[in-house]
């Protein structure tokens, strides 16, 4: 019994990583007023390219950094369209998600010559720092917790954080105070996408050790739901990420457990993270308030 609890906790901490990184990134982006729904695609593409970087260099950490870099590039694309060209915030995100489906499905076949799935070799996967008989803990779990705490501190305790929140709440006033609204929004978007990129690479070179065209499996959107759940607060996103991570991990565990499979079809268990997301989002809407200028292009008068 204790073993099951410990292994589930460790599993939840691991499954939490991409969700928390993306939620925290999305929080910074939306606090600055930029909505990005392209994280699903960012997770997928950075998982793909992260694996490639890791395999070329033989170093999983370069894979993680490479994934963050790919996320950064996609964030720059999103920021350029939404912040500088004043475009719609949702459509480029949809575009990136569709693009990722294509690039990764094509890339797996074109680069590795296998159809649909590529196994990342164990020697280029991140080595765990804590090993227990019930599962092992990746250093990325600690890094993720540190990033969430640090981002929270910057966002709410520093002048930089104040400026980021100002351009998302009241860009006109921020502008009047001499804050470069466009620059802060752009950089916040890039930071958000970079964290998602790190989370994506974590899935391929650390946690799951595989690249498939469905690897992100809705986690980009679950992370957005978690951000709403947290009320755009990185520390609460850490807690929410753990809860979502628990169901994410639970569904993977139950799916592979033959005894439970006999009672409940695995397909039903697989719907759990999505169902929980829906229920939580439906249950808390109305109680939270997004930043005032969230998703609204800012044009100087």
């Amino acid at each position: 019994m204790i073993e099951a609890v410990i292994s589930t906790l460790i599993g939840a901490l691991t499954a939490m990583v991409p969700l928390v990184l993306t939620s925290v990134g999305a929080t910074v982006s939306e606090r600055a007023g930029v909505v990005n729904i392209g994280y699903e695609g960012i997770l997928l593409m950075s998982a793909f390219f992260g694996a490639i970087f890791a395999e070329i260099t033989g170093n999983p950490w370069i894979g993680l950094i490479g994934g963050a870099f790919v996320g950064m590039l996609l964030g720059m694309l999103h920021g350029f369209i939404t912040v500088y060209l004043k475009g719609d915030h949702v459509i480029p995100g949809i575009g990136v998600n569709l693009l990722a489906l294509g690039v990764v499905a094509f890339g797996i076949t074109a680069y590795w010559g296998t159809a649909g799935q590529h196994q990342v070799p164990t020697n280029v996967r991140v080595a765990p720092i804590i090993n227990t008989p019930y599962g092992s803990l990746s250093p990325m779990v600690l890094i993720t917790i540190a990033i969430a705490i640090l981002t929270h501190w910057v966002l709410f305790r520093t002048p930089l954080g104040l400026r980021i929140r100002a351009v998302g709440e009241n860009p006109e006033a921020a502008d009047a105070l001499g804050i470069n609204v466009e620059r802060y929004r752009f950089l916040a978007t890039v930071y958000g996408a970079m964290l998602a990129g790190l989370g994506g690479a974590f899935m391929s070179v650390d946690w799951l050790g595989t690249v498939t065209k469905q690897l992100s499996a809705g986690r980009g959107f679950i992370a957005l739901a978690n951000m709403v759940f947290s009320g755009w607060n990185p520390l609460r996103a850490l807690l929410g990420g753990f809860i979502f991570g628990f169901f994410d991990n639970l569904s993977v565990w139950v799916r592979t457990n033959p005894e439970i499979q006999r009672i409940v079809p695995w397909q039903f268990v697989a719907t759990l993270p999505y169902l929980v997301t829906l229920i939580i989002v439906a249950g808390i809407i109305g109680k939270v308030r997004p930043p005032k200028a969230d998703g609204k292009p800012y044009k100087r008068e």
């Binding site: 729904i37 699903e40 694309l77 369209i81 060209l85 004043k86 475009g87 719609d88 949702v90 459509i91 480029p92 949809i94 575009g95 990136v96 569709l98 693009l99 990722a100 489906l101 294509g102 690039v103 499905a105 094509f106 890339g107 076949t109 074109a110 680069y111 065209k213 499996a217 809705g218 959107f221 679950i222 957005l224 739901a225 709403v228 079809p265 397909q267 039903f268 697989a270 719907t271 999505y274 169902l275 997301t277 829906l278 989002v281 439906a282 249950g283 809407i285 109305g286």
Partner: protein, 343 residues
């Protein structure tokens, strides 16, 4: 009248520019991946347009994505980003198979598609109206739930006892007649065009359509004008559900040789996502969607010959589609290009 023509040509040219950029970026990615872009595109366009067979395959491939594009387009006209077409397609196909196996005729199959589509899309509609749940998150979550639930039904409830690789087939009496022998082009194509025309009529020539469009344009103005935005939201989802449900139904009733759902739902997977691109390129306009649907159908049809003749993985066309959609998102694309060219 001049204004009208101008208002029509600009989006058309912008869509064409996006398509050209998509094809160019696709060529760059092909070259980077070690393929010959020229060889790939020649095989693609030749396969899709070079013969009567290719044209028939293009039109049959356009059928489901015109319908799923209407789902997204109707939503967009109401100010909603309804991404739930994908999951709805599965249930449309499943219900059509079940009902045609009980009563073997085309109408029962179409009815099944419509019913399943409306029922599944009622969920995000209710969540949006009652709880204010953002439809982007809800429809994506529902897509994933639909995927697993449909997988269960396909594997456990309607498997083909004679062939483990597919589900029960739609009985012969409920299949759409083939237009051109030896191809996959059936009269199901007509259903998609008729659905687009009906959508156009509803949106621009009925009171309901007016209410939908006004709600999408400006919710406050709609409320001020005595229009109930909640009613518009519900109808937008239900009409959208009908379209994607029909996409699933026509796919199993009009696509030889299987007339069933194949293993892993491979033959009905992805139409909802493609539909988003089709709708955006068609500027969320039902008539534009017919043409962009045929263009995307061409990519789908040509992908097979590209794979066979040039050895390029057929997912390549999805890359092109993705680039097109990202490009479409760039506002004032034409003005931007003009500025760059002038320099």
């Amino acid at each position: 009248m001049r204004v009208d023509i101008k208002g029509f040509t600009k989006p058309l040219v912008e869509s064409l520019v996006a398509i050209v950029i998509g094809i160019l970026v696709g060529a760059i990615i092909l070259a980077f991946s070690g393929y010959s872009p020229a060889e790939a595109y020649i095989a693609l366009f030749n396969g899709a347009l070079g013969s009567k067979y290719g044209l028939a395959m293009t039109l049959s491939s356009a059928t489901p994505i015109i319908l799923t594009a209407l789902t997204f387009g109707i939503g967009a006209r109401t100010g909603l980003f309804n991404i739930g077409g994908e999951g709805t397609v599965y249930f449309g196909a499943i219900m059509a198979i079940i009902l045609t196996n009980l009563w073997g005729n085309v109408l029962m199959g179409l009815f099944g598609g419509i019913l399943a589509g409306m029922a599944w899309m009622a969920i995000p509609a209710i969540l949006k109206v009652l709880r204010g749940v953002n439809e982007v998150v809800s429809t994506i979550m529902l897509n994933w739930m639909a995927y697993f639930i449909a997988l269960y039904i396909v594997l456990q409830k309607i498997p083909n006892p004679e062939d483990p690789n597919k589900t029960l087939a739609v009985p012969v009496s409920a299949r759409f007649p083939i237009i051109m022998k030896g191809t996959e082009l059936s009269w199901a194509f007509a259903i998609s065009v008729i659905a687009a025309l009906i959508t156009y009529y509803i949106l621009w020539h009925t009171e309901l359509g007016y209410e939908l469009r006004v709600s999408g344009y400006n919710e406050k103005a709609a409320r001020y004008g005595g229009i109930n935005p909640k009613k518009a939201i519900i109808w937008s989802f239900l009409l959208g559900g009908i379209m994607s449900g029909l996409a699933g139904a026509t796919e199993v009733m009009g696509r030889p040789p299987s007339y069933a759902i194949s293993q892993g739902m491979a033959n009905i997977y992805g139409y909802g996502f493609d539909g988003i691109g089709v709708s955006l390129v068609g500027r969320n306009h039902p008539l534009g969607i017919i043409f962009s649907g045929i263009f995307f159908g061409m990519l789908r049809a040509g992908a097979t010959s590209m794979q066979i003749e040039a050895g390029v993985p057929l997912e390549m066309v999805k890359v092109v589609q993705g680039v097109i959609v990202v490009t479409i998102a760039i506002p004032g694309l034409l003005d931007l290009l003009k500025k760059v060219v002038r320099r």
